[in-house]
Symmetry: C2
Subunit: 329 residues, 2 copies
């Protein structure tokens, strides 16, 4: 199929290209009669504006990008889905994975900003993002799940502190005072927040913080197995456990830890959590809401909103599936 151009449409409709352009862009000052002639011609020729030409002229692309760590991770994929829905029919969405590599991230972003996308939703890796200040002008960047270092921007993230505090508070109320915390590497932003939530709940209850109960490493089945064994042999072993992210939970499961008890809560819900070991308590983030909110923020910035940057913390849900007996906190 040969592409029809705006000139073809103009010729068929018997008007000038500018007039066609006007109806395309819903400008005023076009007679209804002219408009309908043009519309017919467009339909007849099955005409569609050439995005490259539009982009060249308007310096926009009609695309937004989601730059994340790995699109094949379910959490990121869910976010991608909600971004797509939220941007629906206004923008195409480009996805780009950084695989945690800051250099790759930078290259990717600079390339996207050089004319592939009008806006970027970024789940930043660690490391300075100062270079975001010198992106070609006009490109909006908002952050998702965690802030970018050295770069102020709108940010949509879960209320990690509050949700973890909620979970720990729940365990405290059931009389647990020795609660083991198992999380990912300390360098990970969300992990810092979740540990903060843990500490906050302890402080509120005047329970001393015991470093022995804290485990923070990138998940590794055998290492976690050892740690769990070690915990059991403490003079005062923990009577409850929380996990601070899904990979850690997975490792615990693989290490043989029984997750189906009222004394365990996993940060991040997961498929089959309702069934595994008879049901696993979990804190569920709302991935869809994160994507929605970030998209809203981005679109607003793309409309040249210059209000101060804002942060939206989205609540996460504590799902109790194994509260022996019944009754909540």
């Amino acid at each position: 199929m040969e592409r029809a151009t705006i000139r073809d449409v103009a010729r068929v409709a018997g008007v000038s290209v500018k007039t066609v352009s006007r109806v395309l862009n819903h400008e005023r000052y076009v007679t209804d009669e002219t408009r309908s002639r043009v519309t017919e011609a467009i339909a007849e020729l099955n005409y569609r504006p050439n995005p490259a030409a539009q982009g060249l002229r308007r310096s926009t692309t009609g695309a937004i990008a989601f730059v994340c760590e790995d699109i094949s991770e379910p959490f990121e994929a869910q976010i991608a889905g909600s971004i797509e829905r939220a941007a629906a029919d206004q923008y195409v969405v480009i996805v780009a994975s950084t695989f945690g590599d800051p250099l790759r991230e930078r290259t990717t972003i600079e390339s996207l900003a050089s004319g592939y996308a009008d806006g970027i939703i970024l789940s930043p890796t660690m490391g300075s993002k100062a270079y975001l200040h010198s992106l070609p002008r006009g490109i909006a960047v908002v952050c998702l799940d965690r802030p970018a270092r050295d770069f102020e921007s709108d940010l949509a993230l879960s209320d990690n502190v509050g949700a973890m505090a909620w979970a720990v508070r729940h365990l405290l109320m059931r009389g647990h005072t020795r609660i083991a915390y198992l999380g990912d590497d300390v360098g990970v932003f969300t992990q810092q927040e979740r540990l903060a939530g843990y500490r906050k709940a302890l402080e509120e209850a005047d329970i001393p913080f015991d470093k022995d109960l804290i485990y923070q490493h990138s998940p590794d089945d055998s290492r976690i197995r050892n740690h769990l064994a070690w915990l059991r042999q403490l003079r005062q072993p923990p009577t409850a456990h929380v996990s601070a992210n899904s990979l850690t939970t997975l490792s615990m499961i693989h290490a043989g830890f029984f997750t189906g008890s009222a004394t365990f809560i996993a940060f991040d819900d997961f498929p089959l959590a309702d069934v595994l070991h008879g049901g696993v308590n979990a804190i569920a983030q709302d991935a869809g809401a994160l994507g929605d909110e970030a998209t809203r923020m981005l679109l607003r910035r793309m409309r040249n909103d210059t209000s101060p940057v804002r942060t939206t913390r989205l609540g996460a849900q504590l799902i109790l599936r194994h509260d022996e007996g019944h009754g909540d906190t």
Copy 2:
């Protein structure tokens, strides 16, 4: 940051724009000396070609698109990830979900083809895809996971027939002759193939096909629960079960079916299958390989390969996690 253009580079390097264009496109006939002057100017100005302008001129976009049912589904997300990796640094990848709506699919594809992407990897919905023949010329389309009706194209998919036959054969060899099959809607291509695999294995073993053992509906927990109960009350109830897709497996689990037995095999492996109910036998598709292969096919077509269309069937793996005793088929 103001964008530098090719003219700026030319000016700084003291050459013509065409020369800059030459070094940009790695054309021959540029002195090393000239080339390095240009390269320096490019670096100095932090110049990057404008994709819209390039696209307008070359009528290419530098993007490929993955059109699937729902990018938030783990299987599709994994494929997206592998496409991204396979196309790495050559193309940006656009994702677009159809949510199973053929109309939306068509609109999306036509829009993408109108100048957002140079090629499309499509997991088609049901319904005729004849319109793919009249896409603006130059756009390559390959299919993934299932063929498009009324449109010949390269196709990468799992060996559904073979894998399911393998699973059923395995059960037959253990003496089961009444094997219940639970799958998704008959209209779904992969489901037809998997049922064919089931029948094939039975035929090979001269076991009569019994329609009573076949269930094919879009997954629904309570409906599946009823069906499972009904199966149990047959005069000759099944002694083994296979599930033909992940949602069905999930429904079975939710319906209380015990999946951790040697007499059950699930098509599609899933997270925690190694742990749930003590381990679930499964057939694992290689999502990554599907994406890789489809991308390879697409890139080949985009290089104007006009060889006959081909279909690649990728093997799926039977993973036995609950083979009481030991020893395989």
